[in-house]
Amino acid sequence: MGSEELRAKLRAAAEAFSGARARWLLGRSRHIVEAGGLKPEEAREVLMGMLKDELERGWIMSELKERGPLTVPELSETTGLPKREVLRHLICLMGEGKVVAKGRKGDYHAFSAT
C-alpha cells in the first residue's frame, strides 16, 4: 500500500470514528450479538456491513473536505468504489445534512461537505 493511499484510509477511519454511529456500533457489538434479534453470525455480518459503510463514507467525507466539490465519477476514481455505491453513500450523507449537491461539473452534479 502506497503511503498516500494509507494516509487517505487513515483519514477515512478518523472521519468515520469521529461520528457516533461507528463508535456506538463497536461499543454495542457484543450486546447486539447477545440480544438475539439476529443469529450471531448474521449480527456480525450486519455489523461488518455497517462499519464498512461508515469507513467508505468517512473516505468520501475526507475527500470532499480536502478537494470538494467532487462528482460521483471523481469520487469513484479516488476511492475505487463503484459509482452507484458512491451515490448511495452521498444520498445517505445528504439525508444526514453532511453533504449538499450544489452546482455541476460538466454533466455531473457536484457534491460538497457542509
Binding site: W24, I32, D53, E96, Y108
Partner: protein
C-alpha cells in the same frame, strides 16, 4: 350457524373505512361530518397512500402533499374518527343490522401517547433500510417516521431490521420506546363498511424487455416523483441512479403493465398518460435544456383540462410525443446510457433511440391483499382483481348490502374521480345506516 336475535346485538351506528389513501380519507371525513363515527383502518404506519408520494398533481400542477396534508390532519383531529394505522382487518361477520369486525393493530414498539415525533431516534438509529416511501432511492432507519407529514406523526420500529442495540431507548427523552409492546386484536361493531383499499403499481420486474431492476437508469414514474420532489432523497436534484449525472435525454415509456394482454392486464390504467405529461412538463420547467420524449400507444387525455395540458406540454414546453411502441431497452454497461428499439406505429419503421434516463409509466393493479379482503367481506371482484360494483351504472359505489367501494380499489382512476367516489360512498353509507334504522 345459530344466529343471535338481531335486536340483542349492539351494533354501533358507525362506519368502517378500509384504507387511508385519498379515497379513504375523503370518505372518512365526509361520514364523520354527518355526525357518524368512523373507524379508519390503514395497514401502513401513516395515512396518505400514494398521493402523499406524488410531487405535483395533474393538470393543475398543485403540490400534492399540500392538498393532502390538511385532510390528513383533519382526520387525526376529527372527534368522530378513530384512526387505526398499522392495522389490518382480519375478520368480518354480519351481526344484527351490521358487522362485527376484527382488526389486528400491530405493535409499533413506540408509545403513541408519549412520542412527540421529534425524530431524534431515527436520526441516531444506526440501521439503514431502503425507504419504501422514497421508492428505495434513499435510506430510512429501523426506527422511523414514514415521511415528514405522516399522520400520526409517531415513530415505529421495523423489528425485521432492528438490531436491538437500544440506542433509541437510551436517547428518547419522552421515554416512548417500548420493546415489550404486543400486537392487539380489536373488535369493532359497525353498521356499514367502505372499501378504499387502493392499488399497487404493476410489478415491472417481470417485464424484462424494459430492463427495470437490471439497469440502474431505468426507473418508475413514482421513483421520478420522489427524485424531483424537494423533500425527496436528492432534495429535488434530478440525478440518475448509476452515477449522479444530470440526464440530458429522458424517455418516458407509456403503457408499461397496462393494455398488455401478455400479463393479463388489457385495461387502461387511466392516469399514466397524464402523469407522464405532467412529469415531462415538470422536467422541462425545472431544466429546460433536458430533452424529453414520450413514447406512447395512444394519448388518452380524456378529463377536464387534460387535452389542453398535453398541448401545452407539446407547444409551450417542447415535450416530444412519439407514437411508438418500445420493443426493448438495452444498456451500454460502460456509460449506463440506454438504447431503445422503438417501432413507430404510424410508419412501421423501427429505430434505435439513445437516452440517458428511462422512466416507465407503470400501470395500476389491485392492492396486495385485495383478494383476501374481498373474501372476508364476501365481495365480488372483476376479472382483473379490482372490487366489483353491484350496480355499475345506477350506483357505482355499491358492492353489497351495507358495503361500498371507492377509489382505485374499484379500478384505476385519478385523484378527483377518487375523491368524488369517496364522497358518494360516504353518502351511501350514511343513507344505509338510516335505512336499517341505525341512525
Amino acid at each position: 350457524m345459530p344466529s343471535r336475535p338481531r335486536e340483542v346485538v349492539a351494533v354501533e351506528p358507525a362506519v368502517l373505512v378500509v384504507g387511508g389513501g385519498i379515497a379513504g380519507i375523503q370518505a372518512a371525513l365526509d361520514v364523520a361530518e354527518q355526525g357518524v363515527h368512523v373507524y379508519l383502518v390503514e395497514r401502513y404506519p401513516s395515512i396518505g397512500g400514494h398521493m402523499a408520494m406524488l410531487d405535483k398533481t395533474f393538470p393543475t400542477l398543485d403540490c400534492s402533499i399540500c392538498i393532502l396534508a390538511p385532510k390528513m390532519v383533519d382526520v387525526a383531529r376529527h372527534p368522530n374518527i378513530t384512526l387505526l394505522t398499522y392495522s389490518e382487518v382480519t375478520g368480518v361477520k354480519r351481526a344484527g343490522k351490521g358487522f362485527e369486525v376484527k382488526v389486528l393493530k400491530k405493535a409499533r414498539y413506540v408509545d403513541p401517547e408519549r412520542c412527540t415525533g421529534c425524530g431524534i431516534c431515527s436520526e441516531k438509529c444506526p440501521v439503514e433500510v431502503p425507504d419504501e416511501f422514497n421508492q428505495g432511492l434513499g435510506p430510512r432507519k429501523a426506527i422511523y417516521i414514514p415521511f415528514p407529514q405522516a399522520v400520526p406523526k409517531v415513530a415505529l420500529i421495523d423489528m425485521e431490521h432492528c438490531l436491538r442495540c437500544g440506542l433509541c431507548k437510551s436517547i428518547c427523552e419522552a421515554k416512548a420506546i417500548d420493546f415489550s409492546q404486543k400486537d392487539e386484536e380489536l373488535t369493532l361493531q359497525v353498521g356499514a363498511i367502505i372499501v378504499a383499499a387502493g392499488f399497487k403499481l404493476v410489478d415491472v420486474e417481470g417485464l424484462r424487455e424494459y430492463g427495470y431492476g437490471r439497469y440502474a437508469n431505468v426507473i418508475t414514474a413514482l421513483q421520478l416523483e420522489r427524485l424531483i420532489n424537494a423533500s425527496g432523497p436528492t432534495r429535488g436534484e434530478l440525478m440518475r441512479p448509476s452515477d449522479g449525472k444530470m440526464p440530458k435525454r429522458v424517455a418516458f415509456i407509456q403503457c408499461v403493465g397496462s393494455r398488455d394482454r401478455r400479463i393479463g392486464n388489457p385495461y387502461c390504467s387511466r392516469v399514466c398518460c397524464m402523469y407522464a405529461a405532467k412529469n415531462a412538463v415538470l422536467l422541462k420547467e425545472h431544466w429546460p435544456e433536458v430533452e424529453v420524449v414520450v413514447y406512447y400507444i395512444d394519448l388518452r387525455a380524456y378529463g377536464k383540462g387534460f387535452e389542453e395540458f398535453v398541448e401545452r406540454a407539446r407547444e409551450e414546453f417542447g415535450v416530444k410525443f412519439v407514437r411508438g411502441r418500445v420493443a426493448r431497452v438495452e444498456e451500454d454497461p460502460e456509460t449506463g446510457d440506454l438504447r431503445l428499439a422503438v417501432e413507430d406505429t404510424e410508419t412501421g419503421r423501427i429505430s434505435m433511440e439513445e437516452h440517458d434516463l428511462v422512466v416507465l409509466s407503470v400501470g395500476l393493479a389491485p392492492a396486495d391483499g385485495s383478494e383476501a379482503l374481498a373474501k372476508l367481506l364476501g365481495l365480488k371482484m372483476d376479472e382483473y382483481g379490482f372490487f366489483a360494483s353491484s350496480e355499475p351504472k345506477a350506483n357505482p359505489v355499491a358492492a353489497l348490502d351495507g358495503i361500498f367501494i371507492c377509489g382505485c380499489a374499484a379500478g384505476p382512476k385519478d385523484i378527483p374521480d377518487s375523491v368524488a367516489e369517496a364522497s358518494a360512498a360516504a353518502m351511501e353509507a350514511v343513507n344505509y345506516l338510516r335505512e336499517v334504522d341505525l341512525l
